[in-house]
């Protein structure tokens, strides 16, 4: 005998998300609600603070000591954002003749210089015919202290 259904039976979906009743982990003194209850805030999120655009930010580690005068040491982790326009005075990760280098960018009157922050190193003036590109702008230096 044919089943008396005009459409095939449909599965019933049970939503996967369960409803949870949150139970407070701390004891609440009867009669006095926690004075902090109305003032809870999200904890500080370093990703949010330090990274403006996650899709364009990279972590790179420092090799060498050409920037120690402004506290960038070997092994420090730099946050580099490729979406920022490199301006005069920015610390940048540059590519000079196919090599990475971290320096302060000098861009005035059509002259581009890469300035180290260590008196033992000379300033580099980008000469004509040299291949130069800014890979990204350094936004933070993460230096381990402990």
């Amino acid at each position: 005998m044919k089943a008396a259904l005009d459409s095939p039976p449909q599965p019933v979906f049970i939503p996967e998300q369960k409803a949870w009743l949150q139970v407070c982990g701390w004891k609440v003194p009867a009669g006095f609600p926690s004075p902090a209850a109305d003032h809870t805030r999200k904890r500080i999120d370093l990703n949010e603070r330090l990274i403006r655009n996650g899709d364009t930010t990279y972590v790179l580690k420092v090799k060498g000591d050409s920037m120690i005068d402004i506290g960038i040491y070997e092994g420090d982790a730099l946050l580099v954002d490729r979406s920022l326009d490199a301006r005069h005075g920015n610390i940048v990760l540059a590519v000079l003749n196919n090599e990475f280098t971290v320096k302060r960018l000098h861009k005035r009157g059509g002259v581009i210089k890469l300035i180290p922050e260590n008196t033992r190193y000379p300033t580099i003036t980008v000469k004509e015919g040299e291949e130069f590109d800014v890979w990204g702008v350094v936004t933070y230096n993460l230096h381990k202290l402990y």
Binding site: F13, D55, V59, K61, R82, S83, N98, W135
Partner: protein
């Protein structure tokens, strides 16, 4: 009729894997180089320099050894963690250009620019922004259908004058015809080498020939798929933009081994890694599978060795996505099929009859064992955080023999703290 012509852009990354390797290696900017497939077998991505030297796509690397030595061509093992991260960055940046887009593959994305003002400027801006923000060069092809957008992208790649952007919609009918007459039919999306030969037998050599071919003959000889392709070439959209990828109906995980495998425990070990991977995929889409199939393969290229390619499938007692439960079945099936005296080159598992977890049908006889749901959640979270394979199923990864050969892999620059590039 009446609806405006679609402005569908296909953004395609140039030599994607090679470009990824170069992002953190500016010293390789103009060096001839290739990226190799799993086990360092074949060339899967070439730099323009390597291409110019005559390295073919898909060519086995051992065939290129002489040429490589002669011209110091560099070869890298594929570094999928790096490619996936850079791909996600590219796709995320592209998604900000238009409300509708479809990530088509790891290095291709359709972006619907219909109704977006200043199309030309936007197209060049897309290319420039992805290039500056990620370091990956891309080309943009625009057309009224997916197939023509793909073809336009091909033109953008081939012709330096396009400066990486080509809009088919901007051509006059005469220009369109002229262009299609100069592109061989094999460049069309979905037309493979085999079909190209068959088309040629029917006198169809160029894209223009295919566009103008006699419809009933084409359908009779090549079926509806080819008819769809033809319609797309005639500017009638037949392939929709899919913004949400449908859940997989079948999950296959298989690998060729780095070395030939002869022992049962090693095979089972490899299978357990495949099971772990497949079950994680199931859990990610909140579904479970009702059937598992296991297959083993000897090396079919070694005609001098005895060949054996068994395959066995069983329905699971109840649908599950529990790595531990599925692994027991994989190991049992493997043991059943295993014959000593063969050298196995490849193995794999297939999970099918996949359905959402919410549709669970009980079994009267088999006791309903709740899968280790919380355990699996914890396992997924750990592997997500610390890298795949951090936490494994019992035997998984105890043996090294079967694992991929990746002798030339670059560091995981963007996904592992210890691999962060030095500058």
């Amino acid at each position: 009729m009446g609806s405006p012509v679609q402005q569908l852009a296909l953004v395609d990354c140039n030599n994607f894997y090679v470009s990824c390797e170069r992002v953190f290696r500016p010293d390789l900017a103009r060096v001839p180089m290739v990226v190799l497939s799993n086990n360092d077998g074949c060339v899967v991505s070439r730099s323009n320099e390597a291409r110019a030297l005559g390295i073919k796509m898909g060519q086995p690397w051992f065939e290129c050894k002489e040429l490589a030595e002669q011209h110091s061509i560099l070869a890298f093992s594929s570094n999928y963690a790096l490619y996936a991260d850079l791909s996600n960055r590219v796709m995320s940046i592209l998604s900000n250009f238009a409300p509708r887009h479809e990530v088509y593959s790891i290095d291709e994305c359709f972006v619907d620019l219909t109704g977006i003002p200043k199309l030309r400027e936007v197209s060049y801006a897309m290319r420039a922004r992805v290039g500056q923000w990620t370091g990956i060069p891309v080309c943009v092809g625009i057309g009224p259908t997916k197939t023509l957008a793909k073809l336009a992208n091909h033109v953008a790649k081939k012709h330096p004058r396009s400066r990486g952007v080509f809009n088919y919609n901007a051509l006059t009918p005469a220009q369109k015809a002229n262009l299609l007459q100069h592109i061989p039919a094999e460049e069309v999306w979905g037309v493979g080498r085999k079909l190209t030969k068959k088309l040629a037998r029917h006198g169809i050599e160029t894209v223009h020939d295919l566009q103008q071919a006699h419809v009933p003959t084409l359908r009779a000889e090549f079926g509806v798929v080819m008819e769809k392709i033809q319609r797309e070439l005639q500017e009638i959209p037949c392939i929709e933009l899919r913004e949400i990828q449908p859940d997989r109906q079948q999950i296959i995980v298989s690998r060729s081994f780095g070395n030939m495998v002869t022992e049962l425990p090693v095979l089972q070990d490899a299978l357990s890694a495949f099971v772990a991977n497949a079950c994680a995929k199931l859990r990610a889409q909140s579904s479970h599978a009702a059937v598992i199939q296991v297959f083993l393969q000897t090396n079919r290229f070694r005609k001098d060795l005895p060949q054996y390619m068994p395959s066995l499938a069983v329905p699971l007692p109840y649908p599950t996505n529990d790595s531990l439960g599925v692994n027991r079945w994989a190991a049992a099936l493997c043991e059943r099929m295993f014959r000593p005296d063969y050298q196995y080159k490849k193995a794999g598992i297939v999970l099918c009859e996949i359905s959402p977890v919410t549709q669970r049908q009980g079994d009267l006889l088999e006791p309903q064992i709740p899968c280790n749901e919380r355990l699996m959640k914890a396992l997924d979270a750990l592997n997500q955080r610390y890298g795949r394979g951090t936490v494994k199923v019992s035997t998984q990864g105890a043996y090294r023999d079967w694992q991929m050969r990746q002798e030339r892999k670059s560091p995981n620059y963007t996904t592992a703290w210890d691999d962060v590039p030095l500058v």
